[in-house]
Amino acid sequence: MNNTHIKIATKDLNLFYGDNHAVKNINIRIEEKNVTALIGPSGCGKSTFLKTLNRMNDLIPYVRITGDVYFEDLDVYKDYDIVELRKRIGMVFQKPNPFPMSIYDNVAYGPRIHGIKAKETLDEIVKNSLEKAALWEEVKDRLKQNALGLSGGQQQRLCIARVLAVEPEVILMDEPTSALDPLATLKIEDLVHELRNNYTIIIVTHNMQQAARISDQTAFFLHGEIVEYGATEKIFRVPEDKRTEDYITGRFG
């Protein structure tokens, strides 16, 4: 544990929606090139917590945040330019949200807004990203077709390719398979497995088998707090906290 690099850390992080205290005193250290799963019943604050990491909560009015979030030892809310931050911390959403444009343009969107114009470079990035997202073989002959014509699973992999195209260091995934069928879910899980070698991945999931299958570290959220955080194997085999055990064995949630 000592020589691993801490990519993201939070210190006494709290988040309020108006009067609702949604995230309470979170202190967590997330390792580089690891898959960290956030589990817990719905409404436990895990998605909200995830969105504080790339400041997507800034979009919601009446949100108040106290405490600190560090990314590479710098404060996310003070030291970073928000656009730069989001470029380095990518995000995949619950429901696939490809833009209503061609598959190619979807992947090229990020590089383009960050100033890459040369056609060859873009072609290269699109191909690479789609390959990394395990989608290239399926779509290489119809890159000009509208992305909304793809299946749900393909759309989600396209969204992952879209994130990869801007070369982030961290990828946040907010229940990325909750809208997909089991086969498509499996493909995404395989993909996450591949990606862990090069990216730091934080994934929110409802599905405990999924967390057990793909993650190295697991954090269990309950009522806005982290009840237990540690190696996935340990959390699932010998949880320390009774509440974690109850949740994992399906006694509530």
Binding site: P61, R86, M91, N97, F99, R112, R162
Partner: protein, 276 residues
């Protein structure tokens, strides 16, 4: 029981009667005008000038097209900009309320008031005289609420997830608007433009006090010109020629029908886009 049945029959017949009146009024107006107008409608009428022995309406068609084009060019960018501000930037509060109030009031002002205003402001004070420009400027204010409102609706239809997706990639707000939001709203914006054209083509009171009613071919936007609706008004009011009036009215009705068709097409495309 029996009394209630009789009452219901009377009520139901009244509803049917009213619907019949609505439909019959429409059918009567449209059929009557087209039936009388069609026989006078020919290529020579549409494509010749209005001078010498000729009484063609080509100059009026051109003036209408110029005025409509100019107005749309002026009103569309401003209207889209305003709608973008209202939907994407404005926070609930005084400013939003003020702009909303202004657009609603502008939408309710009768066209003759626009005419009056255009006459005193553009024609007299700014010295644009009776010209296509004066007419277009006046009409562009008149259609501004239509453009703003329709575009606003279209922007509100663009799913939040598109904006989130773009912002999460590190796009700025304006990049998101330009790259994702606006392109997604294009069919709605198209609807706004078509609706505006419809209003401009049908407008009379505001145009004839600002663009005048000269029947020549307009050489430039500083020339006075007579739009089709104004032409119909003059023909009917002065009793010059009812045949020409019928034919002109027929062209106006056909134009409106085409515009409605185009609007429905555009709106249909918008709807399809967001339905899986």
């Amino acid at each position: 029981m029996k009394q209630r049945r009789i009452k219901e029959i009377i009520q139901k017949s009244f509803i049917w009667l009213c619907t019949f009146i609505t439909v019959a009024a429409l059918a009567w107006i449209v059929i009557y005008i087209i039936a009388n107008g069609f026989e006078h409608l020919n290529l020579d009428f549409i494509f010749s000038e209005y001078k010498g022995g000729k009484n063609g309406i080509l100059p009026m068609i051109l003036s209408t097209v110029y005025v409509a084009f100019l107005s749309v060019i002026i009103a569309t960018p401003i209207g889209i900009g305003a709608a973008l501000y209202l939907v994407e930037y404005a926070k609930p509060g005084k400013l939003l309320y003020l702009v909303r109030f202004a657009t609603e009031t502008l939408a309710g002002i009768p066209s003759i008031i626009y005419g009056l205003f255009g006459f005193i402001f553009f024609v007299t004070i700014l010295k644009f005289s009776f010209s296509l420009l004066s007419g277009a400027l006046t009409l562009s204010i008149m259609v501004l609420p239509t453009v703003i409102r329709t575009t606003e609706e279209a922007l509100k239809c663009v799913p939040v997830s598109y904006r989130e997706g773009s912002l999460a990639l590190g796009a700025t707000k304006f990049q998101t608007i330009r790259g994702v939001v606006l392109p997604s709203a294009i069919p709605g914006i198209l609807t706004a433009v078509i609706l505006s054209i419809g209003r401009i083509v049908g407008e009379t009171a505001a145009v004839y006090l600002t663009a005048g009613m000269v029947t020549r071919f307009p050489d430039s936007i500083m020339d006075s010109g007579r739009t089709l609706s104004v032409h119909l008004y003059v023909l009917a009011k002065e009793g010059i020629s009812f045949e020409e009036a019928f034919a002109t009215a027929t062209i106006l009705i056909i134009t409106v029908a085409l515009i409605n068709l185009a609007t429905n097409k555009a709106a249909g495309r918008l709807k399809r886009r967001y339905e899986p």
